[in-house]
């Protein structure tokens, strides 16, 4: 089966929530799917994550003064095929947070705008399948002056991030495996306080945000109208400090999370270019993060700028 056909028809985006702080990822920056040239996939995605237990350092606990902490997001996403091998991606979520118990007020607002460049420098037949490699670079930055130093109810951490990712994919028949590794540089943030305590007193309103490394494995079934996959993600901050006993979390905490999840994407046969997506995930291990359970659902549509009525791209003709 030609992968490009699949790509063109099956593109969609999804959310993966990894932190107790809501984090939004367009799935397409983490998967091995490319938009065909001059096609623009746009869509909206709703996601919800919640946790009752969290890890205070390595100690798993609940907090009766928070109850269940939840975050909800509504994200706009778009992916444009500059060429078969080069895609541009954008996403921007609106987020809200809430604690079911205690007195703390939830937060809401537009979060961070992400821009990604996804390049597929290599695609070749290998054995009976197809191997492809991707280099992905991204930048994200806060679009509003939302408050970061209000964990666990801030809508984000307010850092500007630069991400570099290497992603490898192998597809054999309808089955595929994708692995990726990402390094995220996070710049220092400025908080409203003039001092704070980490493992020492810092008399500054600047916070050194540790960088983040993530690894991801995706395994599943991929055909022109259906993608079903299992996803395992491991996220680690490279530095940071533990929440001390019965203290509040802080943006520069050491954070670690292993999440597992599933993702299903169905492209309608009757309406070309329309796809539906749904998924869920669960945090199986962590440190200074909530043990989140996550769900998401979205609708995506491909706008074809190759000409109305022109149903097949160059790639599809291969």
């Amino acid at each position: 089966m030609n992968k490009h056909i699949i790509n063109r028809l099956a593109l969609a985006c999804a959310l993966v929530l990894t932190l107790n702080v809501a984090q939004l990822h367009a799935q397409t920056d983490e998967d091995a799917i490319m938009m065909a040239k001059k096609q623009f996939c746009i869509g909206g995605m709703y996601s919800r994550g919640s946790w009752k237990n969290y890890w205070e350092g390595t100690l798993k606990r609940n907090n009766l003064n928070l109850g269940t902490v939840s975050n909800q997001m509504l994200g706009f996403m778009g992916t444009y095929g500059v060429t078969e091998k080069l895609n541009l991606l954008v996403n921007l979520p609106y987020a809200t947070t809430n604690a079911s118990a205690g007195t703390l007020h939830g937060q809401k607002g537009l979060q961070d705008l992400s821009l990604w460049v996804k390049w597929m420098p290599l695609e070749k037949d290998l054995g009976n399948g197809t191997f492809s490699a991707y280099v992905i670079g991204g930048v994200s930055f806060p679009t509003t002056n939302y408050i970061a130093d209000y964990l666990p109810l801030s809508i984000g951490l307010h850092s500007t991030n630069l991400s570099g990712r290497l992603l490898l994919d192998y597809q054999l028949g309808n089955f595929f495996t994708t692995v990726s590794g990402t390094y995220v540089y996070r710049n220092n943030i400025t908080i409203d306080r003039s001092s704070y305590y980490t493992t020492e007193q810092i008399n500054s309103n600047k916070v050194d945000m540790p960088d983040v490394a993530t690894e991801q494995l995706r395994i599943g079934y991929r055909s022109s109208h259906l993608i079903a996959e299992a996803i395992a993600t491991n996220m680690n901050t490279l530095g940071g400090f533990d929440i001390s006993r019965n203290n509040m979390p802080f943006p520069s905490n050491k954070m670690y999370a292993t999440t597992i999840g599933v993702n299903v994407k169905y492209t309608l046969k009757k309406v070309e270019g329309l796809s539906l997506i749904g998924g869920g995930g669960y945090t199986v291990a962590g440190r200074n993060v909530g043990q989140s359970t996550m769900f998401n659902a979205g609708v995506f549509y491909i706008l074809d700028f190759n000409g109305i009525g022109k149903k097949s791209s160059k790639a599809a003709k291969k």
Binding site: N65, H105, W119, I147, Y183, Y185, N203, S204, N246
Partner: protein, 517 residues
């Protein structure tokens, strides 16, 4: 073409990340690299300034030092010269750090200790809460829980003890008039600004000795940590050529002795009874109900015992306990009055769609769990302004003592008022009021932040009149922040600010009479 552009962009982004990764992101504190303290006036007459607890500046004898031409002194000079031949990077860093000012550095270190220990204990299985024990300070929950009243008292005791100790030190400096090592021997390098202030006993060692001795009472789990800092400071003074070893030894001993006077006071100042007992906690509720009032209750789950309900009986520094009662304000409007209904609605209004600027004000002044508390915040504000004044160490200590005695006494009057009236927080009156910062676990009337801030702004405005209006505005903002966050009524804040200012008036009286002005 397009492809090439985007390809380049991708590579650029990746390269940029790699470069940025290599860059250090370490945050620099605002005082990390300030210049060495070089006082414009050495305040040589400070040996006559009015002390807080010491009855005389020579209560503790400091023996006459060896003559500067004695073999013992020459040996001490040789110790400096030997050290100065091969100073390491770390040694130079220690010299630089401590040369910014010893009162400043110890105040910063103390703020860090307060922040570290300002953590409410986690509940027991049965929903009660363990009480930190000074007898078993390392057991969870560690002693102390340095909440705002505790912190106010810690800052006051240490600042006042350091002030008294420096007055005594200045007395002996004037009496013995031993010059600094670099004045005696020109081959000793002065790695800190030169001064004509006599070096015996060392003011740095006096402050270090006071601090480490006070730890036994205030932060017993931190003695080892502070002892490391003491050693570093004392050696930094020898390495820098500012002191010989005998200056240091005499100074530390004096500091420890003066601290003992404050520790003795601390044992009988009633703080030991400030926690109270479950029966006493219940009595507050019973009394309120008997008077037909809604008692305060804890909004935490499980309900936490009230924070230091008898701190209002602690012995103040600036006035007597009868004055505490006299300073206590009249009652707030009745809970079912139109005024309180209006203020409850106002609290709800503040937290609904709060503007970002209000959030900034709330967070800037929150000084809640895990921070150096509002008294610590006012110490930071004062310190940043005192740095620009080039005070002598003894004047630094005097001004910090005035500030912190004011803050402690404001805490006493405020806590006395809180538990006298035992009024609920806005969220207790209207549970739909979700707050923009944590709700403190004690009654509302009067606001601690307002009391602290009114008091601090008043004495600081006296010390630095050019900044008086600025301090007043800051205090108002700090006070307002508690309303804006939905955790206080207007009356709590406006009355607290006034009470704080009244307490500050006593500090001004003391300042005008202590011989330093």
């Amino acid at each position: 073409m397009m492809k090439k552009i985007f390809l380049s962009l991708t590579l650029l982004a990746l390269t940029a990340s790699i470069i940025l990764v290599a860059c250090s992101k370490k945050v620099e504190g605002v005082t990390d690299n300030i210049a060495a303290l070089n006082p414009t006036n050495i305040d040589l007459a400070a040996g006559n300034w009015k002390t807080v607890l010491l009855t005389r500046p020579d209560t503790f004898l400091v023996a006459a030092p060896a003559a500067t031409n004695s073999p013992a002194y020459v040996a001490e000079l040789n110790e400096i010269k030997g050290a100065q031949r091969s100073l390491t990077y770390e040694q130079r860093a220690a010299i630089k750090y401590w040369s910014a000012g010893s009162v400043l550095r110890w105040n910063e270190i103390l703020r860090g200790l307060v922040a570290k220990h300002n953590l409410p204990p986690y509940q027991n299985e049965d929903g009660s809460y363990p009480i930190p024990s000074s007898a078993n300070p390392f057991n969870y929950p560690q002693f102390p829980f340095s909440n705002p009243p505790y912190a106010a008292r810690a800052y006051a005791y240490i600042s006042a003890a350091q002030y008294d100790a420096l007055v005594a030190a200045w007395h002996y400096k004037g009496l013995y008039n031993r010059p600094a090592p670099y004045k005696v021997d020109s081959s000793v390098n002065a790695l800190v600004p030169k001064t004509v202030l006599p070096s015996y006993p060392s003011e740095d060692a006096v402050l270090a000795g006071t601090m480490v001795a006070m730890m036994s009472m205030l932060f017993p789990t931190e003695i080892a940590y502070i002892q490391q800092k003491v050693t570093e400071e004392e050696y930094s003074r020898i390495w820098s050529g500012a002191n010989v070893r005998s200056d240091i030894v005499a100074g530390e001993a004096l500091g420890r002795q003066v601290a003992s006077v404050f520790i003795a006071r601390g044992k009988v100042d009633n703080v030991g009874k400030a926690v109270g007992t479950p029966a006493q906690w219940q009595q507050f509720v019973t009394n309120a109900l008997a008077n037909g009032k809604t008692p305060w209750y804890s909004l935490e789950a499980p309900a936490r015992n009230p924070m230091l309900p008898f701190f209002g009986n602690v012995k103040p520094f600036l006035f007597d306990s009868a004055t505490v009662v006299a300073l206590r304000p009249g009652p707030p409007p009745a809970e079912n009055s139109d005024e309180m209904k209006k203020e409850t609605a106002q609290a709800k209004n503040y937290i609904t769609n709060a503007p970002r600027e209000n959030m900034r004000i709330v967070q800037f002044w929150a000084d809640g769990v895990g921070t150096y508390t509002p008294p610590g915040h006012w110490n930071a504000i004062a310190a940043s302004d005192f740095i620009t004044q080039n005070y002598s160490e003894v004047r630094w200590a005097r001004n910090m003592a005035l500030l912190n005695m004011t803050l402690m006494d404001a805490a006493i009057v405020c806590w006395n008022t809180k538990y006298y009236y035992f009024t609920p927080r806005p969220t207790q009156v209207d549970p739909s009021i979700k707050t923009l910062t944590g709700v403190p676990n004690f009654p509302a009337y009067i606001s601690g932040h307002a009391s602290f801030s009114g008091a601090a702004a008043t004495i600081l405005g006296h010390i630095l009149p050019a900044k008086a209006a600025e301090y007043t505005a800051m205090a108002k903002e700090a006070s307002d922040s508690r309303m804006l966050s939905g955790i206080h009524f207007l009356i709590d804040c406006s009355t607290g600010l006034q009470v704080g200012q009244n307490v500050g008036g006593y500090a001004i009286k003391r300042a005008q009479a202590d011989g330093a002005e």
